[in-house]
Amino acid sequence: MGNIVEVINVSKNYGDIKAVENISFNVKEGEFYSLLGPSGCGKTTILRILGGFIEQDSGKVIIDGKDMKGISPNRRNTSMVFQDLALFPHMNVRENIIYGLRKRKTRPAAIDKKFKRIVDTLGLSGFGKRPVSALSGGQRQRVALARSLIIEPEILLLDEPLASLDKKLRIAMQDELKKIQRKIGTTFLYVTHDQGEALTMSDTIAVMNEGKIIQTGSPDYIYDYPDNIFTADFIGAGNFIPLSSVNNNGQFLSIRAEKGGEFRSASRIPHSKSLSVPVFFIRPEKIKIGSNNPENSNIFTGTVIASVFEGPDIRFEVDSLELGILRIEIKNDGTPPGINKSGKITFYWSYKDGMVLFR
């Protein structure tokens, strides 16, 4: 499988604002590729450059081996699902969906066939004559997808298409989007600020901040091995323990927290800029509660200052004298964790969990 999209050193400024700064990435054919980052980090700008609605100041966009310079949106083999969906209000569902085919002068018989196939795939059969104003949020979403997919684009560009849905529908639509993508095999380039969305659907995620891509990888890799604080903090939850020293003794890192706690880690030190401050990062669910002292783990004690029951999980906030305040998350498996009346607990984590990052 080759790269269907190559973005090479693309930059775009709005006056003094660097919306996109020297960005490069590749998308493989058939991939579900997500750009994930906070609002204002330049995601929409990249997507609109790929769609041909705006032109980059510098750099190259290559789609299917062709340089896209000067090629207008209606001549690109991309299609965009807009954040506000942009369904044509004066057309019914069918007219909306077949608009692109009509512009391509497709024969009526072929239009009918393709229309039938797409509405069957997306569960929109029987809605053809409805005005788009008479649809639910999820249905409008599907009409927007169908309208773009029916013209068989090589790449579907999606700009936070689920942002306006309520939470339950959003989660249902995530699963559905992924299934649809598998079924039709079109490359999806998906933009979102919602890490949960990106983690559940994507094959590859590019994490963005302030106009730059700062890490790329599969969802589990990015979750488990963030290589910078921003990614670690933006995706999932994390504990960040400020450190005073980190020494490599060959086998392990010997680490000393600012509050005095000493512990070990099996991770590597990533390269750092000089003057940057080391921080130990560990996910709340990697910390276990108990005093059974397994091998190769760091053991500390602390006081529970808050606990939150979340159904499948229980979350604790623990104040440890040697480390500071930590979040711990354990599975709710019915057996109560060993916490005595005073709230004192012992907790531990394995040398292989967590890593040193630099601020």
């Binding site: 991309t78 965009m80 942009a86 044509f88 608009y99 692109g100 512009k103 773009s148 013209i151």
Partner: protein, 263 residues
Amino acid sequence: MKNRISYGLGIYTVLFFIYIFTPLILIFIFAFNRGEGYVFPLQGFTWRWFIEFFRDSLARESIGNSIIIAVSSATISTILASLLTIGLIKGKFRRPHLYITFLMLPVLMPSLTIGIAALVFFRTINFPLGIPIVIIAHVSISMSYVFLIMMSRIEGFSLSLQEAAIDLGASWSSSIKDIVFPSLMPAIVAGWLFAFMVSWNEFIVTYFLIGNNSTLPIYIFSQLRFGISPKVNVISVLVALFTFAVILILVSAGKLNRRISPV
């Protein structure tokens, strides 16, 4: 308490409508009254004024001119104003508000001044008075109103609709034709009706610019000087019947459920 207030308001509204419609009803009655004057008691039914009206070639010509002027000025004005609105609000302009303020000037001054300016301007460049100049002046008067009507609705039009059309393969011009204009249709219809109404009623500007021709208001005004013949009332009856027919068609087509109040 609340009910009593809305009851009172209801009665007031009925009285208001009676006030608005009484003069029209009088006109209707006298269009069918046999007597020459306008005095009660009535003197019996007649078609005489209808016959006299249709025999009056000046009246027919005036109505024809009025229709030509109103339809052309409303159409030109609506086309220019809707393009202007799309261009200014959905196009790249550095200071759209500067233009908007300027374009409001005609709304802020009596139409008489626009008529005078047109009269002096066209006489100075030695352009003959007549129907074309009247149409031009009516466009200048109504274009800003139509522009305002369009402005109040175009804010609800998202540029992504146009982008979506182009993304799906439409050219820029067919995105305007397929998407932008149809989405703005209610405002365009409202604007056209308003412009038509302005032109249809306009007297003073036409009076200055029409030259030797006549329009309905001019015809009526000239009749008023000698005491008006009841045949003039026939015009109102015909216009009212026509309006009622249009309203009935709109109502039965369910179009009035949407917001297309003509102003």
